[in-house]
């Protein structure tokens, strides 16, 4: 079942490239090619619709996803998120472009090969659940296993176990319409998870959940992804969710990618007004790592001295809000690197400035990229000892 991962020269050994999307566009309508031609000439989407009757849902999108990361696509309603994610398993055929999964161009895959991929490697959670109303919850969860040809008893057992994992033990014999929206979405999740997919496409899986369960499910998703190294494409229209979950976040606007980057990059260096308008409402304390609050460079001897004098310390990848208690005394707090060595320090003023978004012109953001990179590796190496995103 595990596909071979060809060595891509551009990828680092730790992070094999899993999905490579290049120049993908999708227009709905009989005159899709014409629509793309017009788009290339810079004609607006509404004008294209008027002239060809075709809807340009995604327009020249490129990005890549590494193995074992959560890649979040974020955008407003109608920006093309669902269309994009449906192109990744070819529920939609892109009008142009190429999509490689583990080095295989899936746009050239035969119907037979596509089914193999969907049965074995790549699966999906639907925005509107898409549960079969005439099947029980357990039968719904079994669906993919049944398609794989697994025996009745075996797949029932697997389904019940997966249901238990998503907190729906005992609901197996009910019908989807007996369940609340949030529960139905968890059935949809279980249906996908039962297949132990290598790649999981999730189209707004948590939008129907209430905030508490939503937070739980986010935590569980991160757990899951750590445990199984599942590669996850996660769609959301909530930037807070995008930034808390994503290793990388792509912001979509009208079918194009406005920005792709790590969460801290999106917050600290928004590519344009559109992205920065989004970032205004986010909960910076949750999204930004403590490390970003460091304002003054300091040598490690001085930092060690501070610790010896009793200054508090915190791991650099923890979210800022966890440091509230530490800075309240007015004393500086030392930031520790993933290797356990001190990286720098900050105090209440630095932290307040960071939370308020008052970071312009300090030259700090330039440092964010390598630092967050390091964070990611640190997290994955340390496994559960890192609580950077709890």
């Amino acid at each position: 079942m595990h596909g071979t991962q060809p060595l891509d020269p551009s990828s680092t050994p730790q992070a094999a490239r899993r999905i490579e999307v290049r120049g993908v566009s999708k227009a709905f309508g009989t005159r899709a090619d014409e629509a793309l031609e017009l788009a290339r000439q810079g004609v607006s989407k509404s004008e294209i619709l008027k002239r060809t009757g075709a809807v340009l849902a995604i327009d020249d999108v490129s990005f890549s996803v590494d193995a074992g990361e959560i890649f979040v696509v974020m955008g407003l309603s109608g920006s093309g998120k669902s269309t994009l994610v449906r192109c990744l398993n070819r529920l939609h055929d892109p009008t142009v472009g190429s999509i490689e999964i583990d080095g295989e161009d899936i746009l050239k895959a035969s119907e037979q090969r596509l089914r193999e991929l969907r049965l074995g490697k790549i699966t999906m959670v639907f925005q509107h659940f898409a549960l079969l109303p005439h099947r029980t919850v357990a039968e719904n969860v079994e669906y993919g296993l049944k398609m794989r040809g697994m025996g009745k008893a075996e797949r029932r057992e697997k389904a019940l176990k997966t249901l238990e994992n998503v907190g729906l033990a005992g609901w197996g014999d009910r019908y989807p319409h007996n369940l609340s929206g949030g529960m139905q979405q968890r059935v949809g999740l279980a249906r996908a998870l039962a297949l132990d997919p290598e790649i999981l496409l999730m189209d707004e899986p948590f939008s129907a959940l209430d905030p508490l369960i939503r937070r739980d499910m986010q935590g569980e998703l991160i757990e899951l992804q750590r445990r199984y190294r599942t590669t996850i494409i996660f769609i959301t229209h909530d930037l807070n969710e995008a930034l808390t979950l994503g290793d990388h976040v792509a912001v979509m606007k009208d079918g194009r990618l406005a920005q792709v980057g790590k969460p801290a990059e999106i917050v600290l260096n928004p590519a344009d007004d559109y992205v920065s308008a989004f970032t205004r409402d986010i909960d910076r304390g949750r999204v930004l790592p403590v490390r970003t609050a460091i304002r003054r460079a300091a040598d490690s001897a001085a930092l060690s001295a501070l610790i010896e004098k009793g200054a508090a310390s915190i791991e650099g990848s923890r979210p800022l809000h966890e440091a509230f208690g530490l800075v309240s005394g007015g004393k500086p707090v030392v930031v520790m690197g993933p290797d356990g060595k001190p990286e720098g320090q900050f105090d209440a003023t630095d932290m307040a400035a960071m939370l308020a978004g008052d970071d312009a012109g300090k030259g700090q953001p330039a440092q964010v990229r390598p630092e967050t990179d390091q964070t990611r590796q640190g997290q994955t190496k340390q496994g559960q000892t890192s609580q950077g995103r709890s």
């Binding site: 089914r115 969907r118 999906m124 079969l132 109303p133 005439h134 009910r174 007996n178």
Partner: protein, 301 residues
């Protein structure tokens, strides 16, 4: 005044094609059907006739062979299971009445006839509906055929059917099939097309073939609409009982026709009552079957 009117009429008549002679369309059709269609196609149609004849004969023999009490119990229990106590009681009373007024045998003959017609409607109609649902091109071919079938008055195709098949029960069943088929095809098509696109996508996303999607997702979800189609087909078939009797079908239709011929209102009404009671029972039972199709086992939960 009247002179000028006549002159005007004479002048405008020049614009009428019939002024120059009549187009013998009826003769042409007669020639095509009688001299070409019938002799060429008769062997083919005779072959079509065989399975219908077989099913009809067996069904009729069976219904007439089963002792009255046994058949009564079977039908009433069936109605109970499918549609509940009320319909079961109604069925019991109706069937007893039908026997009491002396038309049990005719009722069974008509039942065998329409059941045969409906079985063949299902064999042809559901696959045709599935085909139409899965291919727009097939739908574009099938739809006008259905339109024609539904708009031609049944009396018009009775004549060629008699020419091809002769008179008797089987030709009547064939006329019934033509008359009753369209709604089943349409509703099967509609039922499948109405299944939410996202559910079909879910099937594809989990690696189903289109055949698996049909059986696992589309047909179960279309079942209720398809059952509505079966119900409609059944009702239409029953409504052909009288017309079918014109070309040799027996049963209740024959009673009505004979009553009409003799101007015997009583006799005709007895036949009519039989048809109405049968219609009500069959309608309630098939509708109830359609309802269970909708809720599935979920209704119990």
């Amino acid at each position: 005044m009247s002179d000028s009117m006549n002159a005007l009429r004479a002048a405008t008549d020049l614009a009428r094609p019939s002024h120059y002679g009549e187009l013998p369309l009826d003769d042409w059709i007669q020639a095509v059907v009688k001299d070409w269609l019938v002799p060429v196609l008769r062997p083919f149609f005779r072959m079509l006739q065989m399975p219908i004849q077989m099913l009809l004969d067996n069904l009729q023999a069976l219904l007439l062979a089963i002792p009255f009490a046994v058949l009564l119990i079977v039908i009433v229990l069936g109605a109970w299971r499918a549609a509940g106590r009320g319909v079961a009681i109604f069925t019991l009373v109706s069937l007893l009445l039908l026997d009491w007024i002396g038309i049990w045998r005719e009722t069974m003959i008509t039942l065998a006839m329409i059941l045969t017609a409906v079985v063949f409607c299902i064999i042809v109609g559901i696959p045709a509906g599935i085909l139409a649902a899965r291919s727009d091109r097939a739908a574009a071919v099938i739809r006008p055929i259905l339109d024609v079938m539904q708009t031609i008055p049944s009396f018009v195709y009775l004549v060629p059917i008699v020419m091809l098949f002769g008179v008797g029960m089987v030709p009547a069943v064939i006329a019934t099939i033509i008359f009753a088929l369209p709604p089943l095809v349409r509703l099967t098509n509609l039922g499948i097309r109405q299944v939410q696109e996202e559910l079909v996508e879910a099937g594809r996303a989990f690696g189903s073939t289109s055949r698996q999607i049909l059986w696992e997702i589309q047909l179960p979800l279309a079942l209720r609409t398809i059952m509505t189609g079966v119900n409609q087909t059944l009702m239409l078939a029953l409504s052909m009982a009288v017309i079918g009797a014109l070309i040799g079908a027996g049963g209740l239709g024959l009673i009505v026709n004979t009553g009409l011929g003799r101007l015997d209102v009583g006799y005709a009404s007895v036949g009519g009552l039989g048809i109405v009671l049968m219609a009500i029972i069959l309608d309630r039972v098939t509708q109830a079957l359609g309802e269970t199709g909708k809720d599935g086992k979920g209704a119990g939960g």
